[in-house]
Symmetry: C2
Subunit: 232 residues, 2 copies
C-alpha cells in the first residue's frame, strides 16, 4: 500500500523497506508466515514475506517490529529478531527502486494466540519447503532461502533454538526442533549428553505426559539471551 503511493521523482532515491522471514515450529515442521501481496503488478494470488517501508524516523529494526505486528499479525513481544542481509538489486521490486533490509524472526507456536495462528486469505503459516516451491513476490524466494540457510547454520552454533521451542520442553521436543530445522536425524543419547553438558538448560520440577506413555522431564533454558556456543 505504502509502496503504491510513491511515484515519479521519488525514484531519484532508493526507498528502504524491511522483509521478515518469521519462523515457528509446529508438528515437527518449520513454518513461515506469508501474506497476500496486493500489488497490481502481481496476480491476485501471490504470496510474499511480511514487510514494508522503513519509516523515516524509525530504524530498520523498529520498522521490522512494526511490520510484524501490522502485516504478519503477530505480537512483536513474542518475537526474536535478527538482521539477515540487505537486498538491493535494482529490479527486485518491479515498481520502484526499493532496497530491503531482510530479517529473521523467530517465535514459538505455544506462545501464539488463536488469532496469531490463524490462516486466512490474507495471511498464512506455511511450511518452509512448500513456501519455497511457490513463486513468491519480488525476490522473496531468494530472501526466504537465505533466511532458512542462515537459520540452519546459526542454529548449530548459537542458542537460537531457545526462541523456537516453548518455555518448558522435554529433551525429545528439543531434539525434534533441531531435527526439523537441520533436516537430519540426531542420535538421542549423544544429543542428550551434549546438550546437558553445555550447561545451558535447567531441570524443572514438572514432568510432561505425551500420550499414554512414560512422562518426560521438563527443561527450560537458563537464559533467553542468544549466545554463540558450539551446540551440534
Amino acid at each position: 500500500m505504502e509502496k503504491t503511493s510513491l511515484t515519479g521523482d521519488d525514484l531519484r532515491f532508493a526507498l528502504l523497506a524491511t522483509d521478515i522471514s518469521l519462523f515457528a515450529i509446529r508438528d515437527n515442521e518449520l513454518f513461515v508466515r506469508l501474506i497476500k501481496v496486493n500489488q497490481p503488478f502481481y496476480s491476485p494470488n501471490t504470496w510474499g514475506l511480511p514487510g514494508g517501508l522503513v519509516h523515516p524516523l524509525k530504524t530498520a529494526d523498529q520498522s521490522a517490529v512494526q511490520h510484524i505486528e501490522n502485516k504478519a499479525g503477530v505480537d512483536s513481544k513474542k518475537i526474536y529478531l535478527e538482521q539477515l542481509y540487505t537486498f538491493s538489486d535494482i529490479a527486485r521490486d518491479p515498481r520502484n527502486r526499493v532496497v530491503s533490509v531482510a530479517y529473521i524472526a523467530l517465535t514459538h507456536w505455544e506462545s501464539l494466540s488463536e488469532r496469531e495462528c490463524a490462516d486466512s486469505k490474507e495471511v498464512q503459516w506455511i511450511t518452509v519447503s512448500k513456501a519455497l516451491k511457490l513463486k513468491l513476490a519480488y525476490d522473496h524466494n531468494e530472501i526466504l532461502s537465505a533466511a532458512f540457510g542462515r537459520l540452519k547454520s546459526r542454529i548449530t552454533y548459537t542458542t537460537l533454538i531457545s526462541r523456537l521451542v516453548a518455555n518448558e520442553f522435554t529433551l525429545s521436543e528439543l531434539e525434534q526442533a533441531y531435527e526439523c530445522i537441520i533436516e537430519a536425524d540426531l542420535d538421542k543419547r549423544n544429543f542428550r549428553k551434549k546438550i546437558l553438558k553445555l550447561g545451558i538448560l535447567k531441570v524443572l520440577a514438572g514432568k510432561k505426559m505425551n500420550g499414554r506413555f512414560r512422562p518426560a522431564q521438563l527443561y527450560a533454558f537458563k537464559s533467553m539471551k542468544i549466545s554463540d556456543i558450539e551446540v551440534l
Copy 2:
C-alpha cells in the same frame, strides 16, 4: 559531498549509503583504510571509513565497489567484498537520515601500487587498533568494530585469509596472517599439520628467501573462492 547537496524535503526518506572497512596486512599488523571526512559538522581533522551514497541505479555492492575506487583510491579488482550489516540508527548521520550498508573489504598489500599504499592528508592506512582509538565520524567506530569482530570470527571457519595474503606465500607468512588477526599465537607444528590436511593449499615450485636463512617453501590457495571450512 553528495550528502551535503541534499536538503529539506528529501528527509521524507532515508538516504542509502555504503561504508567500507577495507583491510590489509602489513608488517604483521592489520591495517584499515581511512579517509578524511570533509563535512562542516566534523572538525577538519576527523577520519572515517570510505563510502558514500548508493546511486539510484546501482546495487549496494556496486556502489561499494565504486566508493572503494573513488574514496579509498584502490583498484576494486584487487578487492574481495562482503556485506557486513546495515546500520540504520536515526541519528547516525548528524545531517540527514542516512542508512548505511556496511561492507568488509579485503586486499593484500603486495598487490597494491605505490599510489594505493600511499598516505596523505586525505587518505591513510592505519592499524585497526589505532583506528579504533580515534574518534571517527558518524558511527564508524561501531561499524569498524563490527567489521573487525566479524573478520576475526569468520577467518576461523572460512578461507577469507586467502584474500589477505599474497598469491604466493610461505606457511610462516600464512600463520602470521592468522596470528595478527586473531591476536593470539599459534603452534607452528599444529598449524602446519592442520592447514595442510585441509587440502586447500597447493605446493608451488619456488622457494622464498627471508633474510639470509633457510629458504621457505612457497604455497598458494588452490581456489580463490571463499568457502566455509573449519580452519582453526
